[in-house]
Point group: C2
Amino acid sequence: MRNIKLTIEYDGTNYFGWQVQDNVVTIQGTIEEALERLLGEKITLIGSGRTDRGVHALGQVANFWTKSNIPGDKFKYALNSLLPDDITIVDSEEVELKFHSRFHAIKKRYKYLVYNSEMPRALYRNYAYHFPYNLNIDEMIKAAQHFIGTHDFKAFMAAGSDVKTTVRTIYDFSIVKNKDLIEFSVEGNGFLRNMVRIMVGTLLNVGIGKINAEDVPKIIIEGERKNAGPTIPPQGLYLEKVFYPEKISWLKKLHVLEYKRVF
Amino acid sequence: MRNIKLTIEYDGTNYFGWQVQDNVVTIQGTIEEALERLLGEKITLIGSGRTDRGVHALGQVANFWTKSNIPGDKFKYALNSLLPDDITIVDSEEVELKFHSRFHAIKKRYKYLVYNSEMPRALYRNYAYHFPYNLNIDEMIKAAQHFIGTHDFKAFMAAGSDVKTTVRTIYDFSIVKNKDLIEFSVEGNGFLRNMVRIMVGTLLNVGIGKINAEDVPKIIIEGERKNAGPTIPPQGLYLEKVFYPEKISWLKKLHVLEYKRVF
């Protein structure tokens, strides 16, 4: 048995998210089909985590075990020739048998793009959220600092999610404005369902004065979904990178790292 | 009668180009339909020029005459609410009755994006041309300088085009590399069919050593389509801006400017 790790970019526009579901086309399902055509065996692809319908990825990571002897770095060429062109395998490599793209992920970085201008733009319709109101970026940056650290993010989770704990650690949160485009970048050890979209939705409410930057800690502590901002649309969201421990030593480090993880 | 000028952005992916044709969906046709729904009168939209199937625009310009008394700047809101979201009216204004978006255009700027990396990218599939080979950018910049000026660009025109003259003036040609993305920007008084795509295709052949930079003048002078590079795909091409004479004085200047035009 060999274990192959894939790094994947996709345009989520035409998919019902990452995870396989009945009767709809998903990213995972599409890649599994390509793998089955390539290898002639049934493959279960393990993703680092789900992405919702319409959400994009620049560096989703997934792995699968196979009996095939195709060299690890050749999978990207073979799969790209079989996949639709809105899913591309950016990289492929053979990894240690125990590597698991979900369990061993220690950090993820998401990006959210807001197009902040009066009129919408045709070319951004699937790739950024059009938000036409004036924003106070300084206040948004102040508010975003309150997300950094280990907190119970219950107020920033889609209703009805079933998780063991809603505590997560946010390592970094940056907001960069480049003309009409605002890029939010957030790194954390894990994210609750819709968490990034609700965090950025909350920051936009701060930007228009509907929420005060200094009230964000209270919103976090009270843990009430209704106090946070709206779940803004999926098309602005990109899973940018999934981080794993250094390859050589990851098995040794893993115990410590898992201890630090909150789920 | 009033004359309304529109500035239009579109994602050309799902359209058979700008110009109205039977049985296919075009940009011009889609905007004319929206105008007819809005105004209750049959409208003919004059574009600054055609764009081909799959080509995008950031600033296409078009105008139409109407009996409506909707203020010029309100058309953008009304049309955007009626148009599909891959066509957006970036600006609308009332202009002098004689303004004609094709006849009075004095300059256009096109942009062509090449994604120069080994592996393709899902998110660029409709927005850049994936070219995986190593490029000598310095040689390409040298070659591009030969396009600047007034030349007979017959070698850089799609076969079978029917035009009075193949002489055009190129004012500027720049090549900027930003990591894996190469942006070609070209300004001219007008462009032949496929001209930008063939010019950039020629420069890519220079970049891989298939054509020498110093042979470009000969290719221009000989005027043989087969000596120039290939017509590269439409999805990397953007009509960025259409230039008109200064508003206040354009009628006075027009005679001189038309004299300078080569078609």
